[in-house]
């Protein structure tokens, strides 16, 4: 791993809290690492565990899923389902040998611009530590 490795981190943010939180971080001019690529989804419960796997396959070194705090979900309970599913996914990924540092989940509300910064810093730092993901990345086929 080279010292100046810059990881690709894919973040799935829920439309109502975390995306607005990241937006707030932007409008409040909070500095955070630019390694993160945000994909907006309507709810963290909409994040299919296969998204996480696909992201890793297609070039992500880390994945972050962020939603509303429990009890604050716009759709009442979407983030509870997400918590269950992605918690299981994290266990499974760890079991098959994907570094647990590569996958994080967080709750960031629309008013938590500063928490968003901390979450991104932590995620990017962990992805940096874990290094480039070589596991089951999709390789270019050369004939």
């Amino acid at each position: 791993m080279s010292a100046n490795f810059e990881p690709n981190v894919v973040a799935f943010l829920c439309n109502w809290c975390s995306y607005a939180g990241a937006d707030l971080a932007g409008t409040s001019r909070v500095n955070y690492p630019s390694n993160i690529q945000i994909i907006r989804v309507m709810c963290s419960g909409r994040v299919n565990p296969l998204y996480v796997m696909n992201a890793l396959q297609q070039g992500a070194d880390g994945v972050l899923v962020s939603g509303c705090h429990p009890g604050d979900c716009h759709y009442m309970e979407g983030n509870y389902y997400a918590r269950r599913r992605l918690g299981m996914l994290k266990d499974l990924m760890e079991f098959v040998g994907v570094d647990p540092k590569r996958f994080h989940m967080s709750w960031v509300s629309a008013s938590e611009g500063h928490k968003w910064k901390e979450v991104v810093e932590k995620t990017v730092e962990d992805a940096k530590e874990a290094g480039p993901f070589e596991g089951f990345r999709r390789r270019k086929i050369e004939w």
Partner: protein, 328 residues
């Protein structure tokens, strides 16, 4: 402990003669060696073919959802008679889980429970006693197995041949049944799940290497999915082309994705019947993935698949106090 075949066949004949039963799914002698085939019995005479022995490893609950649903010709009524099914302890959990998920209706099945003292691992058996063309029989003999082959009777110690799933089995008696064929068997002392513990003892890189070696072998025949009693989606995400979740090409990346997706879709649903591992032509230890997830679900969320027909499906429910120590 010893299953009375006469009684089994008599009961089966009675069930299959009922007006409200379409056919009965049970085990029958295969065509050679140690093989046992699923038997679809439609009349009382056919019931004479049925057997129940330590060779009956297959989980027949698969056939409940696998049966082809042909369109009903105009002017005819759909055949809504029941299907009778012979189940061991583990198979009955599959039936319960299907009921939980509303994959089948309780009124559509007649469950014939066969308390099971543990079945054998056919690979282990064939290793020690090579399989020949002529048929062999097997029986439970007290604690041990009795192999009857070419007029010779061989007693084999239980520990030698017992399948891995049975070493870890906590439910040898059917959980639901309409008819119970025999006395309940006593549960036995559980072995430690060494396979899973061994992998848990490794660090992340070693685990990655271990699974890389396993998933490299996968030929993507989808047998594990097809045989699974709980993989019954008509439109499976692993088959989808638009969007393509998992590419069809057989390489390490897609194999890993396939295997993770398959295991994940069984999180909180797998009833540990071990069929996926049994049918895998590449001998990938799929059971370890499933058992690991099942154990996490049990330890962390206090949920166990296929035990309570009234339960909510694990992945379609939640508790406000689910563990969230992994959240930043």
């Amino acid at each position: 402990m010893k299953m009375d075949l006469e009684q089994l066949r008599k009961t089966a004949a009675e069930v299959v003669s009922r007006d409200d039963v379409r056919y009965l799914v049970g085990w029958k002698q295969g065509t050679y060696g140690y093989r046992v085939a699923p038997g679809f019995i439609e009349d009382a005479a056919g019931a004479a073919e049925l057997i129940f022995s330590p060779l009956c490893t297959a989980n027949l609950a698969t056939y409940l959802t696998l049966a082809e649903q042909l369109p009903v010709p105009r002017g005819e009524e759909p055949d809504d008679r029941k299907v009778a099914l012979m189940v061991k302890g583990c198979d009955s959990r599959a039936v319960v889980q299907l009921l939980v998920e509303k994959g089948i209706e309780r009124d559509d099945v007649v469950v014939i429970g066969c308390p099971c003292p543990g079945v054998i691992d056919a690979d282990l058996l064939a290793e020690k006693y090579p399989e020949t063309e002529d048929l062999a029989e097997m029986k439970w003999d007290g604690e041990d197995f009795l192999l009857i082959h070419g007029g010779e009777e061989t007693k084999i110690a239980r520990d030698e041949l017992l399948a891995e799933k049975c070493r870890l089995c906590r439910y040898p008696n059917p959980i639901i049944s309409d008819i119970m064929l025999d006395q309940e068997v006593e549960t036995w002392e559980l072995a430690e799940d060494e396979g899973v513990q061994e992998i848990e003892g490794k660090d992340v890189d070693e685990r990655a290497d271990y699974w890389a070696e396993q998933f490299e072998k996968c030929i993507r025949c989808y047998s594990c999915r097809n045989v699974c009693p709980l993989c019954y989606c008509q439109d499976c995400v692993l088959d989808r082309l638009n969007p393509t979740w998992v590419n069809r090409s057989v390489n390490f990346s897609e194999n890993t994705a396939f295997n993770i997706a398959r295991a994940f879709h069984l999180a909180g649903r797998c009833i540990e019947c071990g069929e996926c591992e049994r049918v895998c032509p590449a001998n990938i230890p799929l059971g370890k993935l499933n058992r690991k997830l099942a154990r996490e679900v049990r330890d962390k969320y206090g949920f166990e698949a296929g035990v309570d027909p009234e339960a909510e499906p694990f992945q379609a429910s939640f508790k406000p106090d689910d563990p969230e120590d992994f959240i930043l």
